[in-house]
Symmetry: T
Subunit: 165 residues, 12 copies
């Protein structure tokens, strides 16, 4: 279980980095609308990293001493900026793909821990809620049908914040 | 007068419902800009319903016991989602039409009560302000010229809120 | 017009005093429910006094130098505590009567000023809103039918407060 | 699953409407105590409607285009005002019955989704908490024994609010 | 002096426990009104315990190592729930008696320390204020005449809070 | 003791009224500086009235049923506006005289209750603090030497507010 | 109507500019008292400009493309600093004159729109309230008798702010 | 299930008492660091008691009428202060042992209720989160390896607070 | 130096005026994204005018008595609305040009004052930061590459606000 | 009495200065724990100086015109930093000694004024509370047994602050 | 550099003391206007002392162990109260002189550190801003021409506060 | 210049990662004191990364597409956890070394940009302030003499936050 959590912590921190680059490249009239969404997802992914670390240590695990090693254990492939950065749809597809990998990962952890490791289950479920919402924000822009969602109003991480206090 | 107020309360609550559906169907890059406006109008129409009810009872009236009957007394025709929900302009036209009907209704009540029923006049005027602003937000998107308006910054219902405290 | 305003200022301040006594005498399980309502009405009547004074001076008037003289110009008869203070219904009737006299007074001022003295009109209308609500709170307890109202949630004087800033 | 959620969304919105009528009819010294409770339950039921809608769209469902059709799919029978509206106990029984139907509905959804559809499970559980508390508030008044509960202090929807941010 | 303070700390903590039971048993339409008062008194008695402990240690004393021993040194007899818990008046009498014992205890400490142990005097006086107010809330319900008091609006322990910061 | 408290409650409420008149007559460049001080003293005197009333009822007393009778029991002579209202110094002298009478009154109550009626003592002392400060504000303007005081910054009644929560 | 609103918007913005100069020239012990008043009036006049603009566009009008042209359509003559800027009274007279012109303008608009153009009426009335208060602040300093007014405590534009949200 | 909840409510309240004693005995340079942690755990254990009580009554149970009997049903042995109170490590071991017993208890309740009694499960899980964190704070001081945790920043009971609103 | 500051104060106030017109003409789906940016820049330019005025007077300068003369000393040419107001790109070019002129002006002042007039340097640098950010917001829309910026979140003028307190 | 107050005001201001030096010299792992306590005591002693000054002037006294003369009238000997500043225990002894001298001084003033000079008594008592708490914080570190105290949470000067508003 | 900072820290603390005396002696109608300004300057000078101390220790310096020695190293002569304390102008001249000495001192430090010791430069510049503003407030009262300044609105030390967090 | 900024952004983000590991390994009684400091430094270093990124893009630069490449351009060597993680002093030395490298880097940037690139200068100076303070916190623990600093009270990044709004 600890290994899975480390893998996801790595995915979250690298996603945070790649989101930083992508947010900067979302420009022009088209990119503006996605910019605010990307910013919220970026901040919340960083929160996920912060929330996963204490559980890793509680379970006797730890972060690798070398950040590059940490980068490579990531449970999801890195969300590299596409070659053609002027095409907002291509950036969107990278983002949606990253979020869907995350949804699969946390669903998996939820399945493994439900009714057994109650605390890890609740942590994974809380992150899962936010990843599903990130995914639905971006998928709307790709014309995949309504998701019923709205951007965060006010505070970020409504589900994970209880693990950060 | 009470009947007119009940008619408008019904129009507000049904509009609230149809706005909920429409906001969910405003997707893609084009719909994003209108989404936030539709959400504000949706919340404020619900506030109008809440503000009208006490005045109805003060004047000796009441709401129908059957919600479907209430639905049918609405002073304005229901703002059904257009067939082609992928065309943002068509949704916009439905929204503008709904707001203009509301503006006519409340202007009418203001005309009837000015200088006579002071409390009802002030209530109708407060709602009228907000309906005019909703209308002007949507009409801008249809290219009908500048309205000089800005979305709500911070709190909703700046005019009606005094009736909700 | 100034004389009318002074009369009402006097009515508000004396009502504030008599409400203080009555609130203290609303005891036992029955009185508890009315206590909070009486307290809100008491505070808001004092606010009405405070809001009327500046308009009196703006129009060239003033308060009488003797407080007892002021007491006697009151536009409504004083809301004396009934003899039998253990009967909550009797206290309620005194309170409802006081509020209804106030509603008549401010409706009268509104009628006289509508379309003419715009500032006095708006002041009287703001006070009228609050007096109507006070009346409807108490009348409900006397079983005179639903009024659709709720006690203040949070701040007092939602209508008059703009004259107190 | 989606159909179940739509049924409950319908139940919540219609309950919101019928609660509005009932709250207005809770008058007199006896009704005052229940009024505040009914108001909180009314607001929280509306919040449940708002929280269910995005999950319905996420799962590929949607709201019916006609509000009256929506009214009729409600998973619980409508909480009609009893004939004798002067009998607070009769109103209370209608309210308790409505809440208990809701508790059964959400318990059912929890049973179906536990360990499987983690996100829907957490949403249904959050609503279930609030429905159980509504039920226990009203049942106390019917003399069915202590429930240990207190009215909300401050904010509403302590469980569901994380789905509304 | 220290022994007196320990006795009262014990009385406060046990009262906190018995209030918890009693608040749960205050049900039905009659009990509702007293519930909020009992809750405030319960919280403030716990605050008194918290405020007394540091002074006990400052004066060289301490709490007994066994909580049951602590329970038995209480300066006032425990406020046991009466046999007939459906009779609100009987519960009220237990509550009033408990508060009056507390008033006597703290008046005694004030008498002993006035002009001599300035800090203990101020602590006892602060608690005395709150106990007198608790007593007057409950005595009103027993029909012992007006007390002029109102429930706390907003924060609890307006007198003792300076010892808790 | 109760009679003394009623006398002072009367003095505070009448002072509140006469301060209202005086504040309106403090005009011109000279009066401006005193206006803010007079306003603070006016509000705090009203707070004193509000804080005295519950203690009067706790001790078994009550307010007179007739407000004019109440006016006449005032422990201090009414602070009538001087004839020559254009002379700020004359108004100041009236104000200082009123405050000094209040200081004497509350010092007297403190002397009578110290070490005996602890609660009344603390109430009188709290009001005394504020009256001394009112007096020192006005005396500075009359050139009677420095008082070291500053106007309230932020909230009013720093001493009495604990009796108003 | 639109032309009248543009004239007043111009008057407000130019007044804002001339107030800026005048506030800087209100120095010395005498000027200090008026400085804060002038600052509040300056900010509120700017708010009036901001509130008038959207209504102008709603009614199909617009601002002139050249700011100097805008300056010249002002409905009131510019409030030039008097030659002798060391004489506070002369500055005061300019200020009072400017405010009185504004009061006449908005009273005129109110008269023209009462019972007809409800939204413009409410906007003009809201501005009128604030202009009357500005005028009464300054007139007091000129010894024209009491106005009963006090400076803003806390927020500015208590009447117009609802049009700025 | 109810018996288990009562046992744990007893454990929480007695722990609250013994923590109070222990916190007072954590002195000197070494004890300072642990003091703040012990204080947070003490407050949160009291919150657990408060959160468990309503669920006990909802399920038809209740607290024992005698507090000493309540003390003895505690699910965990009382956390008595060790003999040698000058040895911080010994105090720490008592604290860690108490927290670990609590973790076992709530894990047990979670196991019993998962997928069955959804509301009790969520309550027990919320308390479990906080008990695990208490345990990890203290175990760090005993040199049992990193736990990755930080003291509360700001509010207490981030998990249980939703049951206290 | 003073002349340079007056020139820039003039540029800021006129820009504020022309921005007001332009913001009103940014309509339709394309204009919406830029509207919020233009509004922030408009408010911050007004803040710059307010921050420059005191420094001008400190250095012995002053504003021209005639606003039209002030308009003409502006250090940058007025940002007139382009002829074809339906072309958002043309409006954008005017805005970017205006901001770039401002960046050149304040860079110049910084160069002249660095290490010499410390206070003017810090003021000019603070304004420069905000002008650079305005420019980068607009340039992104023109497709001139990423600027890494985000709109203000929350308060405006993060750099200049220290001069406005 | 005034002389005593001046002596103590001098002691407070000089203590504030010497505390500043000592806080800077509390370094290393041992000093960290005491640093926060010393900072709070430092700020509160400055508050005592601020609270004493107005009472000195009220009683007709004043501060010496020469600060060095003021330094020498201090009622307690200055808290010079010990020679060996690396020994935290030696610094602690200086601090405890300073606080104990203060406790003796204010106890003395309380004894002299109890029941006579009510205002000075309350001021001295308020300061005494805070000095006792300072003393007990430091004495714990010297191993003189538990004091039951905790550092300030949130605001400073919970007792004296009412004299600073 | 360190010596210069110690000199100025001494000047700030002694100014704080002399300002305390002077503020108390600013009485009567004339002194009132300056009182608030003197109070703000007094508080901000104390803040300067607090902000300088850490930089002194960072650079390896320290405060003298004897406060009187510290008093004598002050970089500016002490701002003794003038003989004739009834003449507000004489007090004003002392205050202006003190502020101008401070402006010269900090300008000197800025000149010495610009481009070299970046941190000390920024600290000195921040204090310089506030000293210039103090000076301009007082100089206005002496009739030395407009300074364009306004008193602090809300928080103090807008420039130095970043060094105090 | 851009390369230097990228190097430092890399150093900040990697430091953020290594601080996360180190904070988890600061355990036991000794580590507790440093834990809070390390946490603040960790958060503020992340803020520095966030503040540097926009300036990098403004100047035409960008972040490397590969996070591992970014890791290797870091201007300072990575702050690897020492082998012997149980020795707090060794961890401290790593931390101090990292902060001192950062101080040298930003001092260098300040030297290069002073008087030339005003915006980059101000950004680097703001970060430099915070790095100097981080260094002085840790160096105190190593017994290198007093630094005069205190931990952050309340918000983090008092200098850099203006670049993050």
């Amino acid at each position: 279980m600890v290994d899975l959590l480390v893998e996801n912590a790595a995915a979250e921190l690298t996603t945070y980095y790649y989101y930083t680059i992508m947010r900067c490249n979302l420009i022009g009239l088209e990119g503006e609308g996605i910019k605010e969404i990307a910013e919220t997802a970026r901040i919340e992914d960083r929160n996920h990293f912060e929330a996963l670390v204490p559980r890793i240590y509680e379970l006797g695990g730890g972060l690798p001493k070398d950040m590059k090693e940490f980068h490579d254990v990531s449970g999801c492939p890195p969300a590299y900026l596409p070659e053609d950065i002027s095409d907002v749809n291509k950036i969107l597809k990278v983002l949606v793909e990253a979020e869907r990998c995350a949804v699969r990962q946390y669903t998996n952890i939820c399945n493994l821990t439900a009714g057994k490791d109650h605390r890890t289950y609740d942590l994974a479920l809380s992150i899962l809620h936010e990843e599903i919402e990130h995914g639905s924000w971006f998928s709307e822009f790709l014309g995949e049908g309504p998701s019923g969602h709205f951007l965060r109003r006010g505070e970020t991480s409504p589900f994970v914040s209880k693990f950060l206090k």
